[in-house]
Amino acid sequence: MSDLIDIRGVAHAYRTPSGPLPVLDGLDIAIPRGEFCAVVGPSGCGKSTLTRLVAGLMKPDKGEVRLDGAPIRGPRKNVGMAFQNPVLLEWRSILDNVILPLEIVAPSMPRKERVARAEELLAMVGLEGFEAKRPSELSGGMRQRASLCRAIVHKPDVLIMDEPFGALDNFTREDLWQTMRQLRAAEPFTAVLITHDLRESVYLGDQVVVLSGRPARTQYVMNVDLPDERPLDILYTPKVGEMLHVLRDQIKIAQGRGEGPGEGAAA
């Protein structure tokens, strides 16, 4: 019962003109409070559906998504979301973009406190001095940093991220991984990260969940046994190399290429 997020036997199908399209079937994920869960899997396997379920934006056909023991029945104030597209509002300054969730969640909070909270986070991600800028004046990496700040400004229990680093170049991405770890150390959220990047999943995750191809079920769960202090170099140690190898094999199986004779060996 110590799990904050508990996804049990979830199945879901979308209704399409050509009949139901099952995207999830047999999804089980348990995330203890404060943990960081990275979810990987083949393209189009229903990972984004998973984020919408946890956010309370939709309900599964079967199974249950529980938060702190209670089934999620709809949107709640204690989640934050970040996407591949930073979706910043172009007509607001960076500061006012970060404040946005507070306007919904804490309408009575004085402006001064909101600004202080936003400034604290922006400083933490290295955007000090950019508060008054418009999103269009920032680089892609900086916009994504601002987007992360907005996702956690209201101190949510759960941070849901759908490939937030997917559109960034490699070096910017690695910078953001480190920023993410700093945020984690400072803020109390429990995180669900959808990603296509195995190195990212290992570097950021406490556990990595591999989903099968569509309809997705939980195919494999890896506990990431690494210290909390993770310099980027850790990705080049033999231990992490082994972990990545295991995950890579699991992805091949998920893509339906691992079990066939000879096919998996070709790679």
Binding site: G74, W91, I104, A151
Partner: protein, 255 residues
């Protein structure tokens, strides 16, 4: 070149060149006034009828703006409903497109019969009817193409549809809205003039044009056309100024 000078100087210069070419065209062909007036004939017409020009411009202007305001209110409301509801959108599009395809001149007698003698009302109605369509369509498209992520960041926090509309959907649609308003403002202007010219005992610049025609005063007719063009330009740039204020963020800096 200085940017301020360029912004004012280039358009003024192009207008001057246009007037000179016009004058030359009339002079080279040796056209008398009853075929085509030349720019040099116009000042006399303005000097003689300046009171009528002022009165007519005012009448044309306020009725156009009133019609446009109605179009903005109605167009926004219609666009909102269509943007948020697929069913409404599917149901209304054919009707709207059909209505928009009707030449509005054919509606002049319909309006005239429906509201006999209400010249101001008829004119405002026409300006409204001709100009609400682009506003409704652009708002509907702006709202219906809003990326779901924009909605989700607030919806996940339990924000109401109204909150999402005011905080995100509406401001995000403003650039499209002003694009449509630029089209609508010229359309509304045409609608006003149409009624003024076509209906008997009309008012405004259109009626002045008509009286020039009745009296075979060709310089007066051309002077009205120029006055209409100037008024149209003023209205258009008023919208541009509002766009700068309310949706200036959408403009990229020059690179």
């Amino acid at each position: 070149m200085n940017t301020a000078l360029r912004k004012v100087g280039v358009p003024v210069l192009s207008i001057l060149i246009f007037l000179v070419l016009w004058e030359l065209l009339v002079w080279a062909n040796g056209w008398p006034n009853y075929v085509m007036a030349s720019p040099s004939d116009l000042p006399e017409a303005y000097a003689r009828f300046w009171e009528l020009f002022l009165l007519g411009s005012w009448q044309t202007l306020w009725r156009t703006v009133a019609g446009l305001l109605l179009a903005v209110i109605f167009g926004l409301a219609l666009g909102m409903v269509m943007g948020f509801s697929r069913i409404v959108r599917d149901g209304l599009y054919p009707l709207l497109v059909g209505f928009n395809a009707i030449p509005k001149a054919t509606l002049v007698p319909v309006l005239a019969l429906l509201f006999i003698g209400q010249h101001n009302f008829n004119t405002v109605m026409m300006a409204f009817l001709i100009s609400f369509f682009p506003i409704a369509v652009s708002v509907a498209i702006g709202l219906s193409t809003l990326e779901p992520e924009y909605r989700d960041i607030l919806r996940a926090l339990g924000a109401s549809r109204m909150t999402i509309f005011w905080k995100i959907a509406l401001p995000k649609t403003l650039p499209e809205f002003f694009g449509a308003l630029k089209v609508a403002v010229t359309l509304a202007f045409i609608g006003t003039n149409l009624v003024e010219i076509v209906s008997p005992h009309g008012r405004g610049l259109g009626a002045l044009f008509l009286s020039g025609q009745t009296n075979s005063n060709y310089p007066l007719m051309f002077a009205v056309l120029i006055a209409l063009a100037v008024l149209g330009i003023v209205l258009y740039y008023a919208v541009v100024a509002m766009e700068r204020i309310f949706a200036g963020w959408a403009e990229r800096a020059e690179t």
